[in-house]
Symmetry: D3
Subunit: 244 residues, 6 copies
């Protein structure tokens, strides 16, 4: 991965979050030549594996194994590398070791941009924790005094991907990413999530709605043929030399 010029980092609280919420961005940038790396903090073994648990004769290990396979298959389709921190979910907690481990990933990957969860989510306390961990790890990785001598990271933009109930999470997209040309890949990755089939059509509709909004925001007379999109909220100002 390090050989490629440009990289990106995605931090996913549970093993499927990166698929539903950022699968389009991952596939799109991979196609553009980025090496995209995904960190799954947990497998979502407790909180997001209801269907598996209902099968009976399950154990936490079995659930983790199943979820890991799904996530690896999805990552492969999207063209990204993936690693698993396995820090547990419901509740998720992150100590200093986890923070440094993620800071080290930042140092190793040197990402051009970073994706993680929304800052608030009253339905899921693991999600904001993941974003806060990501933000603090980025700050640590920027500090000359942390593991002095290593190459520090710059100031890559950080984006929150879309939570389940956006308005309740005070999440407001200021970026609409056109994922029309990679939609097939995203939908293929979505289909790896056998345990959450009820969400396949839900997230297809999310992509279609954001696509209509993207179309509106470039103007209905535009020739850009946008059908599917993903929404993102940026946490830092963008530095640019052009406003168009």
């Amino acid at each position: 991965m390090i050989n490629k010029t440009k990289t990106a980092l995605v931090v996913s609280a549970h093993s499927a979050d990166f698929v539903w919420r950022a699968g389009g961005a991952i596939a799109l940038h991979t196609q553009q030549g980025y090496a995209v790396h995904i960190v799954c903090l947990s497998y979502g073994e407790r909180g997001e594996s209801a269907k598996l648990w209902r099968k009976g004769e399950m154990s936490e290990d079995k659930v983790k194994t199943a979820r890991r396979s799904e996530a690896e298959a999805a990552a492969e389709i999207l063209g990204a590398s993936v690693e698993f921190f396995d820090i547990g979910d419901y509740p998720m907690r992150a100590d200093k070791e986890t923070l440094f481990r993620l800071a080290d990933v930042f140092r190793r990957v040197q990402p051009e941009f970073v994706l993680s969860h929304s800052i608030k989510d009253p339905y899921n306390y693991d999600h904001p924790l993941a974003m806060n961990l990501t933000q603090e790890a980025r700050i640590i990785a920027q500090a000359e005094g942390y593991k002095p001598g290593e190459k520090i990271v710059g100031a890559p933009p950080v984006y929150s991907f879309e939570p389940h109930q956006p308005e309740q999470c005070e999440w407001r997209p200021d970026v609409l990413l056109d994922i029309t040309e990679v939609w097939d890949k995203k939908y293929a990755a979505i289909q790896c999530m056998a345990g959450q089939e009820h969400l396949w059509e839900y997230y297809t509709r999310v992509a279609l709605q954001r696509g209509v909004q993207a179309k509106r925001n470039v103007g209905i007379a535009s020739t850009r043929n946008i059908v599917y999109a993903e929404g993102y909220q940026s946490l830092f100002p963008r530095v640019t030399e052009n406003l168009a």
Copy 2:
């Protein structure tokens, strides 16, 4: 102007606002080949010409003439065209005719992006009025049913430029525009404002502070040599195919 491929529109409540707040953006995009057009809604004859009034033996007409000359000189330095609506200030009021007049400018200019004031400003009620007028004129110009048959406008991004006391205006920059290479032009334009000399150094410092912040937001290790910047707040989501 219409021959050039790309265009931009700046709506300035008073005749000097575009210089202090958006002079860098105007010069930068002009240099990039944009035709930038400025609408000054008023000359700022009542509210922003204190020094002139204190000279004595002044009339509103004399003040307007002086302010117009300054604004034209500044626009010329920045490379932009300028027109004056002369609707009065302190208080500014806009009727339907003014709204349609501005919508017609939108139709004529077909801007790639639009700049105007902040949505709130407890120190200056003309500023939010100018932005609201700009937003509504853009909406009118998008409507097929307004002067049917004319070419409607698309959905150009709209940005608020920096107000005098940003935090009191609930203005938060999400774009920092690097204006380092055109700073000389902006400062030359600023110097046209003979009646507000006390603001020259103030706005130089604003540009330096935003420059430091821009530098921070690309990372201190970046090789980009940013010294001067302008802050902008975008009112609509950005549609893009790249997150870096």
Copy 3:
């Protein structure tokens, strides 16, 4: 209408808004025995009739007539009465006479609840104007000193229905209305809007997404079979004797 016990009032900026945004609520309450009355402030003749205008050989009168027919057909399907103020759109403006006319509707209808647009909408300035007009008309209608001797209105709850791009409008639903059992009626009413066919599936997906969210907010284990829903934001506190 006045014979029925319970009533509701819907104020729609343009003639189709009530269908997309509140069609479910109208059909549902009609079915529950409410007399629902709709006021269309304009026909949306300029701003929301793009398809008609593109046909060529159009005039504002022809557009209005076509839009009125569509709206009447939709209202009939939903079981509601409808009247048209015809105050124009893009831009919409309301003088005191319009305000009193709407206040008089409040007095006549004596609604149990009121529906209108979101308080903010950067894509459409007519929408907030409609809501502000509605709120002020309600206040006038509550005043003993306005047409003294008439029966004043109480304090009916007021709800904002869903705007096109909710997060950009700072609209946050705090009520999810289960419209599953009247979805067929809403979809039939939607189909009356021949000029905006591209929105039929868009608003079907909106209803499905809000349905999934409603299901989540009653708990996935609930036996309530919610498929379609509409979101609403309440502007006043609810007075109740039960918190479940």
Copy 4:
């Protein structure tokens, strides 16, 4: 009034607002030697005179006369001068003439501080209008170009006094004014409002609650004996040389 050194200005939408909401501040500063001047924009003849209207055989003129007497009596008790603009209420509307009339009051009074309503109030649209008018009049009165040669006003702090349902109005007090020593005067002024007797105890409780909060915010161990207080929200930063 002009002889006194220090002055203050209170702008009241309806003739009784200044009593309920700012009676303590008026009495307190009068006692401190301030000349406090009150502008009542309307008599509240339509919207806030329910009891009078219910008496029957009323006319708008009779209501105005009764309300004016009450307000004058209250102002006298509080030690303030009062004038009436009589621009009507429910709905209140202010044209340029009213704006200039109020700007002229600013010029004449040259207030050290200004009190008016909250910026938002979904229960009463006249209240925000009064505050916006006040703010814009202050801006006009500061402009050298408005009636050149007259003495302009400085930048007196502006405060919103407490609305009826504070949280619904997004009003947050950042100043708690100790009115314990003038409570008797405020309550005497309140009793002039014969038509709104149901509010006497309501506003006594408001004063007691704000008093308890003031006590909390100086520390329960403090020797300051605060019993009654009024809450205010400041619209501009305070300039000071001491933070205690």
Copy 5:
């Protein structure tokens, strides 16, 4: 308790909070047949027992015992069951064991609705901690993977009860609960709090003020005779089939 059909859960940071802030809701729902269960996370032994400490010859154990007796007496009057977690206050801290303990209470009680503190409170850091703990425990209790096989909880609505200084806590009531018919019980429960007698009249006034506001929000012409009320802020959207 489990025999009864409907249940509710109240999580109180300190042993008296549930009385002042939710005593009316508890008594009202108990009277309606609900089994209401209260969890007191601490006795408020350090932070909210000033009067006891000032007696002298006190120990933390003595304070706890006194506070427990008061809380049990109050709960009995209100008709609710109560348990004490005794996790300490000033500062309050909750580890995973406390979280699971509370999640187990959710599983056992299966509440129809939940009451706890406001999300923010700059005067009291224990209060937001209690609410966050409550929200996360609810999430854990909803997860199939937590103690698989147990009956998970649904999605009961969660409400913040009123903090001491509402506006400073960014707390906005969107529900006003009419507690007029159980006010006697609430006041009797309040009188159990011998150590905080200065708050008896304070909270009586709170109830009267919210009562007046409730009356306003149903309309002054309403026949509902509301005198006392409690305010609540809901954290999740309400799912309903009726908007009146």
Copy 6:
């Protein structure tokens, strides 16, 4: 220190923060006779000592020693006492012992007012932690039940000093402190920070900009000669007897 009548407390996350952000307030109040005490939670050894680390042959101890010397020199110039908690930075974490240690400082100092960081800062997670620690320590120090018998603290106002990128931190100054007469001292203290020379002019410009704003907020016609200022955001309402 305890002999002096009035005192103030400043809590600085890293050893230089108090200089850049509050140096003017410290010098000003010292000059007014206050005993100002500074707590530096860390030396900023990891996160804010980039220049030192780049020298090579550094260790954390050497960095700490250098930073301590700078901070002590700066504090001496400002006339304040200083102590160092040395709890580490990047990331900063505070356990109960640190909390009690700071609470004990509150008890010992009995401050008239307190200064610390902004509540939010996406660029620096240590800063909000410092402010939250400060707020909770103040609450502990107010509690009779914490170390019963000791003198509790009152309710000193707490202010956030200015973060690096104010708008991104949702920081809004409501107090502008005129530091013109002590600017020389602040700039001398700033010059002690040899390792951060790039910030000297940055913070000079911050002081000049806030100075211009302070001048604006007292009115341009004012005779107060304000050149340099510091901005502060207050966290609690101010209790006063005068609104001018």
